[in-house]
Symmetry: C2
Subunit: 293 residues, 2 copies
């Protein structure tokens, strides 16, 4: 594991703001300025995009194949697919964490932007859940609180401000087969559809985050598609995505830049969360309302 | 020492081009894709600009003070000074190199852009010396070949193309005192004035690169100023710099971004050169025409 050597100037300034915001809070001990990432992960994504045949499309068939990758399959990388559609993949190990902690995290951090900040203090600015009352309701399961409860997130993606709405949902809604999820040992999901703020029910992308226990901890399996890929047409309002994305200047060239920045972002934020989650859970885990199983 | 974790997409593509360009040349064994930098250097410059009183201005007095810094003085960093003027400083160690190799390098690499490329294959695109015949003339000293023989360089600075003209000159022309240079053990210089291509004799900046032997190798002392600082007014045509830089959009905000990118660039290119110079000199050093002392 090696420290990230570069943060855009805007992220350097955001870190200063985050430290000031968190200074008198119980979250400040968890601000990590020296994020460690695996050398092979950083060096893989800095060597240009994946070969087209090393990337997968967001079809139902391809989604389910993620759950049982042949040995030797490349697990990190980025590229641009038909659409244009940016694509990013990663597998991240969380030593000492469990899927239960992961689910707890996604409940807990969504209730306060200061908690969202410690996840990636160079980047994360604010998070607002559409229905915080439902999110905090102890009579509901994690899934009942979390799914279809949109989150508006503001963060830096590379040097630039990036706003999105995440419509977390059951992975079967995305196309995963329940039996295959169980067979693969998946115990938690923070997956969903991506929307543009202010444009409700227009799907511009899909984000997959699935977790399973591994010896000594937890593995997070992530995939992102953002764009107008034909295989995204099955999702609500996806027919409107091409015009919206083109209007935002997301041509293939820009998509490739954002894809690499998202790959760096993904690597940094998840490895940072992996480094703090067991300690954060130890300190704040008991604050959770008892979750209905 | 840790590998650089991030290269902008444009640099990833430039590396691919450089490898293709160099593939059948004797220079390809010296393309280093895994550049190592000192962790404390990378982490220092990713924590925002230097405090104003930790930076120095390009006055004659301040230049000479670089040669004898008090222990504990911060040796790396970047910021924006009055003008606005970007400022970058670094001290880089070259284990196994000598000032003689450094001077040889600056003669040798300026004769062929492919040699310039191996210095920083993610970034360096082309270099053209104004008078290559004089540069290669074995009857002249290094200084006679090199000084006032402008070099037009094209490279990536962060994600963006950056073109400049370097007017290498004797460090005493910049304001260094010859006796103080000698007392400090300085044995070579690749310092000079910075110009904008197409605008001859308009100084927009000063670049200092001084080398001296240290136990086990060589130390490179670097400083950069680019802008309209009042202390640059003593150089040719500097009165025209404010208009030129403002016309290029170099306001204080942009200057700060370029300053950080230059600090990253400086750290990467010099540590990469440090890692290859002894081997390059061993392989090609005998090709040099016998230099007049």
């Amino acid at each position: 594991m090696i420290p990230v050597t570069y943060y855009p100037l805007s992220m350097q300034k955001q870190l200063v703001k985050a430290k000031a915001t968190l200074a008198d809070s119980p979250y400040s001990p968890f601000v990590n300025e020296r994020v460690l990432v695996p050398e092979n992960h950083a060096l893989k994504i800095q060597k240009g995009p994946l070969a087209p045949d090393a990337a997968i499309v967001p079809s139902i068939k391809a989604l389910n194949e993620i759950l049982d990758l042949p040995p030797g399959t490349e697990r990190v990388g980025y590229t641009v697919l038909e659409g244009p559609t940016l694509y990013v993949q990663s597998h991240v190990q969380f030593p000492g964490s469990t899927p239960e902690m992961f689910k707890w995290w996604f409940w807990w951090e969504a209730l306060d932007s200061r908690r969202y900040m410690i996840w990636f203090p160079h980047s994360h600015i604010s998070l607002e859940a559409e229905d915080p009352v439902r999110l905090a309701d102890p009579t509901k399961t994690f899934e009942e609180r979390f799914y279809e409860n949109r989150q508006h997130v503001v963060e830096l993606m590379g040097p630039d401000l990036f706003e999105s709405v995440i419509r977390f949902t059951d992975p079967t809604v995305l196309g995963f087969d329940l039996a295959k999820l169980k067979k693969a040992g998946i115990e938690g999901s923070a997956s969903g559809l991506l929307e543009v703020p202010g444009l409700r029910d227009v799907t511009v992308g899909v984000m997959v985050h699935l977790v399973r226990s591994i010896p000594g901890g937890m593995e997070l399996i992530s995939r992102y598609w953002l764009g107008s890929h034909p295989e995204l047409a099955r999702f609500p309002g996806a027919n409107k995505a091409p015009e919206i994305l083109a209007g935002a200047g997301m041509n293939a060239e820009k998509m490739e830049q954002v894809a690499y920045e998202l790959a760096v972002h993904d690597m940094t934020e998840w490895h940072n969360l992996a480094s703090i989650l067991p300690k954060v859970y130890e300190r704040f885990g008991t604050e959770a309302p008892p979750a209905k199983p």
